[in-house]
Each structure stands twice: as C-alpha cells, then as structure tokens.
C-alpha cells in the first residue's frame, strides 16, 4: 500500500502535510513513534525545500509518498526546485554551552537521527529524497 500527497511550495502547506503523514502512517499500521519520526523528517526536509529550493515568486510542486516494503517504512519526497542534496550538509558540532550555540543548522541532523537510512537522487530535473526506517524500530521503545 502507498499513498501520495501533492503540495505547493508554500509554508502553509506544512500543516496539511503533517495531517497526511499521521493519517497515512496510521493506515499503514505504523507506530505512533514511527509516525512522529516521519512527521519530523518531512517537516525538516520540506521546510528547507520551500524556504531555499525556489527563486522568489516561482511556484513549485512537492510530492510525498509513504509506503511500506520489505519490513521498512519509506518516505519519498520529490520536488522540482533547484538541485540540492541535503545529505551533503556536514553534521553540526553540538555546542558546549548556550553562548557558543549557533542558531539553525539542526534540520538535516534531525532527519538523519530519526531515520535508519537516507538517500538522495537527482532524477529528471527533480530532487528525490528517500528516507527509510525499520517498521519495528519505533515499537521497541
């Protein structure tokens, strides 16, 4: 089973996206923990895409697909924005104190830490981010 959502590159779409992740995750039988992780990863990835992936005033389309396959739950996020591989963003060094902490830069790290595997492809002029987690991994906690 799989389900697809199309949203435009508008930050107001994020709420619809989260509702879709929850509803689709439930329909696929994913645990609340796993639904939370996909909701978080989708929010971080799509917020970046909408904020930085398109020149001002240019409209775009972002497709999300949530599916299960071979014991994995998979979230695919595909957009027609400028070519960008978020997985090339270096891992941030965690700050030692409030004074030395930097604002921002945590989004990609949250995606990595909430998923078991992350892959990126540039295909037919579109960015494709494939995020995977074990279906059982959310239930052991």
């Amino acid at each position: 089973m799989s389900s697809q959502l199309l949203i435009d590159n508008n930050l107001d779409s994020l709420r619809d996206m989260s509702n879709w992740v929850a509803a689709t995750g439930n329909a696929l039988g994913l645990s609340d923990t796993l639904c939370y992780r996909f909701d978080l990863a989708a929010n971080e990835a799509v917020t970046n895409t909408i904020s930085y992936g398109y020149p001002p005033g240019v409209s775009g389309e972002i497709a999300l697909r949530l599916l299960t396959a071979n014991g994995n739950a998979v979230l695919e996020i595909e957009d027609d924005g400028v070519a960008f591989n978020p997985l090339e963003v270096p891992e941030p060094t965690l700050p030692e104190s409030l004074e030395t902490s930097l604002i921002g830069g945590l989004g990609v790290q949250l995606i990595r830490s909430s998923m078991v595997q992350c892959d990126y492809q540039r295909r037919d002029g579109r960015n494709l981010l494939i995020l995977q987690s074990l279906i059982t991994s959310g239930e052991a906690e």
Binding site: L11, L40, S101, I103
Partner: protein
Amino acid sequence: MDGGVTLIRLRGRMAMSGAQKIDLKFTALTTVKQGAYIVDMSAVDFLASIGIRTLLVSAKGAQA
C-alpha cells in the same frame, strides 16, 4: 513563581505554524524582564528545529 523565576507553559505542536504563532510573544516575555525562566514543555507533543530555534533565540536573549 517565587525568587524571580517566571514559569512559561507551552502546549501543542512547535512546528512552523506553532512556532510562528508564539515567537513574538515568547521572545517578548523572556527578554523584557531580567531573571530566570522555566519553560514547561510537558504539553508540547511535537518539536521541530523551528521550535528549537524559538527556544534558543529566547534563551540567548534572556541570558544577555
């Protein structure tokens, strides 16, 4: 609270729309008055990096 400590209770989702909704009020609350703040997050059921940003900006502001 006693001893000049202010308690702020947040609830709901701290994703984009939630963070935008509280940003101004939260930053104003935590920077106007000198002192310590406790932020009760027990009713926050979702925290994205945009919400961490809100907390961090205010924490830096309150400390300055």
